[in-house]
C-alpha cells in the first residue's frame, strides 16, 4: 500500500548513516508506560481523543537470505520509514532486521505499554496458503507482507509510533546493544504496587468479574465481540467460496477451475467430431480455459490476500480485546482491595467497640489491645494507600483504554478500507478481464456459417 513511496528509499543503505548522535540510553524523554501523554490534551480535544504528533510511514521490503550456506541461515528484511516525528533523527531511517528482531520489538513494546493495543506478529505456523520451506519465495513474500502490516499498525499508533524502541528498531546501527540495554533498564515507573501484587494474587482469580461494570466498557466489549463475530463468519463463508472456486492445487480439481478446464476439453472434443466447426469450437474451448485460468488467478491475487488480511485483523482485534480484559482486571484489583480494606476497617471498628465495652466493664488488657489496634491501623493505612493507587491505576487505565479504543477504531477503519478496497479492485479486475474474454469470443462464434 506504500508503493508510491518506494523510490524514496533508493538512496538509503540499510545501515542508516545519520544515526550516530542517537542516545540509545533508557533515559529517552518520552514518558513511558500507560500514563504517557494523557496529560497533554489540547483545547478542543476531548480527554480521550488520541492525537498524532506527526506521520510515520513504514515499509518492509527486500527479503534476503543471510548466511545462506550455514545452518544459521536466516532471512533479513529491509525496514525503512518516512517520518516527520521529532523523535527520529532522520526523516528516512532504515535498517535490516530479521524475524527475531520483530519478535523482540513486539514483546517489549507490549511489556512497556500494557494499555496499548500492540499488534500481534504473524503466527509462525499459520501458513496454510503457502507451500515450500521458509526460504521459498512464497514464504518470504508472505512473511514480508505480514511484517509490513505489523509495522504499519505500530506506526499508526500515536503512542507506539513515538516509542524509543521503535525508533531504535529503525535507526540503531547496534541493535544488539540496544536490545541488551532495553532488557537491563526497562523504561517506565518501578512497580511500586507490591502490595497490590501480593494481595491481588491471594484475592483474585481468573474467573472473578467486575462488580460494578462500566457501561462504556460493556458497550465496547460488545462491539469487539460483534466485530470479531462478523470477521469470523465472513472468513468462514469466504473460504468456502474460495474452495469451490479453486481449491488451491495447481491440478484441475473438484472446483470451478477444474470444471471449466474439463468443459474446455469436452468442447475441444466436440470440435474434433464436428469437422465443419472445429476452428470456432477450439476458440470457444480456449475461452473456457482462459476463464478457468482467470478464476485461479483471482483466487491467488485477490481472495487469498483478502482472507489473510481478514485473519490478521481478527488477531489484531484479539489484542484489543486483551487490553479491555486487562482494564477489567485493574478495576477488579481496585474493587477487591476496597473490599479487603472495608473488611479490615470493620474489624478494627468491631475491636474498637469491644475495647470500649471491655473498658467500661473494667477489664483491661491494655498492652495487647493497643498493640493490636496499632497493627490494624497500620494495615489500614497501607491498604488505603494501595486502594488509592489501585483506584488511580484503574482510572488511568480506563482513560487510556477509552483513548486506545478510538485509536483502534481508526486503525480498524483504515485496514477495512484497504482490505475491502483491494478486494473490490481484484473483483473488478477479474470481472473486467472475464467480460473481455467472453466478449471476444462472441463474434468468432457468430461467424459460423449456417445453411438451413
Amino acid at each position: 500500500m506504500l508503493g508510491e513511496d518506494d523510490d524514496v528509499f533508493d538512496s538509503v543503505t540499510w545501515e542508516s548513516p545519520s544515526a550516530p548522535t542517537y542516545d540509545a540510553g533508557p533515559s529517552a524523554p518520552t514518558g513511558p508506560g500507560f500514563r504517557q501523554s494523557t496529560a497533554e490534551s489540547e483545547p478542543g480535544h476531548g480527554p480521550h481523543d488520541p492525537k498524532w504528533e506527526g506521520y510515520l510511514i513504514t515499509s518492509v521490503k527486500d527479503p534476503v537470505k543471510e548466511l545462506a550456506d550455514t545452518k544459521d541461515a536466516y532471512v533479513s528484511y529491509l525496514v525503512s520509514a518516512k517520518t516527520n516525528l521529532p523523535i527520529f533523527s532522520t526523516p528516512n531511517p532504515s535498517a535490516r532486521r530479521r524475524f527475531q528482531d520483530f519478535v523482540f520489538l513486539r514483546n517489549h513494546l507490549s511489556k512497556d505499554f500494557p494499555a496499548c493495543v500492540v499488534p500481534p506478529l504473524p503466527d509462525k505456523h499459520r501458513l496454510e496458503y503457502v507451500t515450500g520451506d521458509r526460504f521459498s519465495p512464497e514464504f518470504m513474500e508472505r512473511r514480508r507482507a505480514d511484517l509490513h502490516r505489523f509495522l504499519q499498525r505500530l506506526s499508526r499508533h500515536p503512542t507506539l509510533q513515538r516509542s524509543t524502541l521503535l525508533r531504535a528498531f529503525f535507526e540503531s546501527t547496534e541493535w544488539h546493544v540496544t536490545m541488551h540495554q532495553h532488557v537491563a533498564h526497562p523504561p517506565g515507573p518501578e512497580h511500586t504496587t507490591g502490595v497490590i501484587d501480593s494481595i491481588s494474587d491471594t484475592l483474585l482469580n481468573a474467573f472473578s468479574r467486575v462488580r460494578k461494570p462500566d457501561e462504556r466498557f460493556l458497550a465496547m466489549r460488545e462491539g469487539v465481540d460483534k466485530f470479531e463475530e462478523g470477521i469470523v463468519l465472513t472468513e468462514r463463508l469466504w473460504s468456502r467460496i474460495r474452495n469451490r472456486t479453486n481449491d488451491g492445487t495447481l491440478e484441475p480439481g473438484e472446483d470451478l477451475t477444474g470444471d471449466y478446464h474439463d468443459m474446455a476439453v469436452a468442447v475441444q472434443g466436440l470440435g474434433f467430431l464436428e469437422s465443419g466447426i472445429t476452428d470456432p469450437l477450439n476458440h470457444f474451448s480456449n475461452t473456457l480455459l482462459e476463464f478457468s485460468a482467470l478464476l485461479r488467478h483471482t483466487t491467488q491475487t485477490t481472495t487469498d490476500p483478502f482472507l489473510i488480511h481478514l485473519h490478521s485483523l481478527l488477531q489484531y482485534s484479539h489484542a484489543n480485546r486483551a487490553v479491555l480484559k486487562l482494564r477489567d482486571q485493574k478495576q477488579m484489583d481496585f474493587e477487591e482491595l476496597s473490599d479487603y480494606l472495608s473488611g479490615v476497617t470493620s474489624e478494627r471498628d468491631r475491636s474498637y467497640l469491644k475495647d470500649r465495652v471491655d473498658a467500661l466493664r473494667g477489664a483491661d488488657d491494655d498492652r495487647s489491645r493497643v498493640e493490636k489496634m496499632r497493627k490494624l491501623d497500620a494495615k489500614i493505612k497501607e491498604l488505603q494507600d494501595a486502594v488509592q493507587t489501585a483506584h488511580e491505576t484503574s482510572d488511568a487505565f480506563s482513560d487510556e483504554t477509552l483513548r486506545e479504543q478510538t485509536v483502534f477504531q481508526y486503525a480498524k477503519e483504515a485496514e477495512m478500507k484497504e482490505m475491502l478496497g483491494n478486494l473490490a479492485d481484484g473483483q473488478m479486475e477479474f470481472y473486467k478481464a472475464a467480460m473481455d474474454e467472453w466478449d471476444r469470443i462472441i463474434p468468432i462464434i457468430q461467424r459460423i456459417r449456417v445453411d438451413v
Binding site: 488520541p50 516527520n84 471449466y260 469436452a266 467430431l273 473488478m428 470481472y431 462472441i442 449456417v450
Partner: protein, 574 residues
C-alpha cells in the same frame, strides 16, 4: 434385375420414387437437400413473451418459408406455411383431472389463432405416431420421462415438480417448433390436428392415417406405411433382425453409424457430465454468496459511519453475485444443458433410423437370395422335367415309332429355356450362394419339403405342381425385390437428406448454444462488475488514517488544507 444391385445413384430413381409416392403430403422430397433460399442470419423473434431468451431450435434451423405451396390441407397448414416466421408457444401448464381419475398436467399450445391442450402422454403418442408414419425421418425428441438430472438444489417436492414442468414446457415447445420447421413433417395433417385441438387426440389416433398403420412397418412401403394399395409383394419381404450382418454394406451409412455412436458417447459422456458438475458447483456457490451477503449485511449493522455503509455495499455486491449466478445457472440450464441433452436424444433417434435402413438393406439382400434360390430350384425342377420328357419321348418312340412328336403345349412356358440348353449348364455361373436361414422364408421351405414328399407319390404331377408353385413364388419375389430395392433407395436417399438437414441444424444449434453461453457469462461478469464498482466507491469514502504524510493530506483535501495544518494533532473526523 441388375440396376438394383447398384447402390449409389439415387438421383436417377428419385423422380420415379416420388411419382410413385402418391400421398399428397409428400410434395417435396428433394427439398431438404436443396440450398436455402433464406438467409439464416435472421434472428428468431421470441414472439410471445413467455420465454425471455430465444428458445431452441435456433433461428439457424428455421425452415425456409415454402411460399410455393398453395394446396393447404387446413388452416394450420396455411399458418405454418404462411411464409412468415411462426412460433408455436406453450403458454401454460395446467393441472386438471378432466377424463381422468387422477390429476395431470396439460400444456396449453398456442399456434397462431389456434389453441390446444395436450398432456405429456399425448406428446409422446404424437411422437411415436410420426416416427411410424415417417420411418425415414429424424423425428425430434421429447423430454424424457424422468427428469434430466437435478441441477437445481434440493428443494421441496412441489418446487421440484414446478421446475420439472417448466423444463418440460420448454422442451415440448422446442419439439413442436422443430416439427413446424421440418420441410416434410410440417405438412403432416396429423400434426396440424394436434395443434388445432378441435378433436381429441384419441379421435386422431383412431382415424386415418394413424388407424391404418400396419403393425410391422418393415413390411410396408417406406415412403408411406399406410398405403392401402401397397403391392402384395410386401408380404413376401422378410423380417430381419437389427443385428443381421450385411453382405455388401454401404460405406456411407457405416460411417454414419460410427459417427453417431461417437457423437452420442461424447455428448452423454464428457459434455453432459461436466455440465452437470459445473452447474452443481455454481448452484452451491450461489448459495454461499447468499449466505455471505446476509452475513456482511449483519456485520455492517454492528459498525457505524462510513465503514458500515462500505461493508453494506460490499455485502450488496456479494448479493448481486448471488442473483447473477442464479440467473447464469438458469440460462446455462436452458441454453446449454437442455439442448445438449436434446442432442443426446437425437443421437439415439438417429441410431434407430440407421437401424431401420439397415433392416431395409438386409430385406433387400435376403429377398435377392431367396429369389436366386427359387430360380435354382425352378431350374432343377425344369431340368428333371425336361429329362423326364426326353425319357418319355424315347420310351414313346420305342413303343410307337411312327408317332408324331408331341407338342409342348401342355407344359407351361418352360419350353424356350429347356429347348435352348440341352446340356446341364447352370444358369448362374459360380458357386451357389450360401443359403442363409431367413425368418421369413420358413413357410416357403416347409412348402418345398412338402412338394418333395408329394413327388414320391406322383412324381410327374408333383413336379409340375412344384414348377408352377415355384414360378408363382418367383414372380412374387421379383415383385418384392423390386419393391425392396425401391424402398432401400428411398430410405437411403431420404435418410441421407434428413441427416444433411440435421447436420446443418446441429451446427446452427451449437452456434446458438455457444453464443448464449458466452453472452450469459458476459452478462454475469457485467452485473458483478457494476456491483463491485459501486462497492468500491463506497469503500473509498472511508476516511484515511490520520497517520499520513502532509503532502498527502494537502493533496487529498485540495485547497481546503490550510497552513496551520502542519500540526497534525488536529485530526479529521472529530
Amino acid at each position: 434385375m441388375d440396376p438394383y444391385e447398384t447402390e449409389n445413384p439415387f438421383e436417377e430413381d428419385t423422380d420415379r420414387v416420388q411419382s410413385e409416392a402418391s400421398s399428397a403430403y409428400r410434395v417435396n422430397l428433394s427439398a431438404p437437400s436443396s440450398p436455402p433460399s433464406q438467409s439464416s442470419r435472421i434472428p428468431s423473434s421470441p414472439s410471445l413473451g413467455s420465454a425471455s431468451r430465444p428458445a431452441f431450435p435456433s433461428s439457424g434451423s428455421h425452415r425456409q418459408p415454402q411460399a410455393y405451396k398453395s394446396d393447404f390441407c387446413c388452416t394450420r397448414d396455411q399458418w405454418l406455411h404462411s411464409g412468415e416466421e411462426v412460433e408455436i408457444v406453450i403458454t401454460d401448464a395446467l393441472k386438471t383431472s378432466v377424463n381422468s381419475s387422477s390429476t395431470y398436467i396439460t400444456y396449453v399450445i398456442k399456434s397462431g389463432t389456434a389453441e390446444a391442450q395436450h398432456r405429456y402422454s399425448e406428446f409422446e403418442s404424437l411422437r411415436t405416431s410420426l416416427a411410424r408414419l415417417y420411418p425415414t425421418l429424424i423425428i425430434p425428441p421429447i423430454p424424457s420421462k424422468q427428469t434430466i438430472g437435478d441441477y437445481a438444489v434440493k428443494q421441496a417436492k412441489a418446487k421440484e415438480d414446478a421446475a420439472m414442468i417448466a423444463r418440460r414446457k420448454r422442451m415440448l415447445q422446442t419439439f413442436l417448433n422443430r416439427i413446424a420447421r421440418h420441410p416434410i413433417l410440417s405438412n403432416e395433417h396429423v400434426f396440424h390436428r394436434f395443434l388445432d385441438g378441435e378433436v381429441s387426440w384419441t379421435e386422431v389416433l383412431h382415424s386415418p392415417p394413424l388407424s391404418l398403420l400396419p403393425t410391422n412397418i418393415l413390411k410396408a412401403p417406406s415412403h408411406n406405411p399406410t398405403d392401402q394399395n401397397a403391392s402384395p409383394g410386401y408380404t413376401a419381404l422378410p423380417n430381419p433382425s437389427a443385428t443381421h450382418a450385411l453382405r455388401r454394406p454401404d460405406q456411407r451409412f457405416l460411417d454414419s453409424e460410427v459417427f453417431t455412436n461417437k457423437f452420442a458417447a461424447h455428448l452423454s459422456g464428457p459434455m453432459e457430465k461436466v455440465t452437470r458438475r459445473t452447474m452443481k458447483r455454481w448452484s452451491d456457490s450461489s448459495h454461499d454468496h447468499a449466505e455471505l451477503g446476509a452475513a456482511l449485511n449483519g456485520f455492517s449493522l454492528n459498525e457505524s459511519g462510513q465503514l458500515s455503509s462500505a461493508i453494506e455495499k460490499t455485502g450488496q455486491a456479494v448479493d448481486a453475485t448471488y442473483m447473477s449466478t442464479t440467473l447464469l445457472l438458469q440460462e446455462l440450464e436452458q441454453n446449454w444443458a437442455e439442448p445438449l441433452h436434446e442432442y443426446t436424444q437425437f443421437a439415439t433417434i438417429i441410431k434407430k433410423l440407421l437401424v431401420y435402413r439397415h433392416q431395409k438393406h438386409v430385406q433387400y439382400e435376403m429377398t435377392q437370395e431367396n429369389l436366386e434360390a427359387k430360380r435354382e430350384q425352378l431350374e432343377e425342377l425344369e431340368k428333371s422335367e425336361h429329362a423326364a420328357r426326353r425319357l418319355e419321348e424315347a420310351l414313346g418312340r420305342g413303343r410307337t415309332s411312327a408317332d408324331s412328336p408331341r407338342t409342348e403345349d401342355g407344359t407351361p412356358s418352360s419350353g424356350d429355356n429347356s429347348r435352348a440348353d440341352t446340356g446341364y449348364l447352370p444358369p448362374h455361373p459360380g458357386p451357389n450362394p450360401v443359403r442363409r436361414r431367413a425368418p421369413g422364408m420358413g413357410f416357403l421351405s416347409a412348402l418345398s419339403y412338402t412338394l418333395h414328399g408329394m413327388m414320391d407319390v406322383d412324381p410327374a404331377t408333383a413336379r409340375r405342381n412344384a414348377i408352377s408353385k415355384a414360378r408363382e413364388q418367383i414372380s412374387l419375389l421379383e415383385d418384392a425385390l423390386h419393391l425392396s430395392a425401391q424402398d432401400l433407395k428411398y430410405s437411403s436417399s431420404t435418410i441421407q437428406a434428413d441427416l444433411d438437414r440435421f447436420q446443418r441444424q446441429k451446427v446452427a444449434d451449437i452456434r446458438e448454444m455457444a453464443i448464449s453461453m458466452a453472452k450469459s457469462h458476459r452478462d454475469w461478469c457485467k452485473k458483478n462488475l457494476e456491483a463491485w464498482e459501486e462497492a468500491k466507491r463506497e469503500v473509498e469514502k472511508i476516511p484515511d488514517h490520520p497517520n499520513r504524510m502532509l503532502e498527502e493530506i494537502v493533496e487529498d483535501s485540495g485547497g481546503v488544507a490550510n497552513g496551520s495544518r502542519e500540526s497534525t494533532s488536529t485530526i479529521d473526523g472529530h
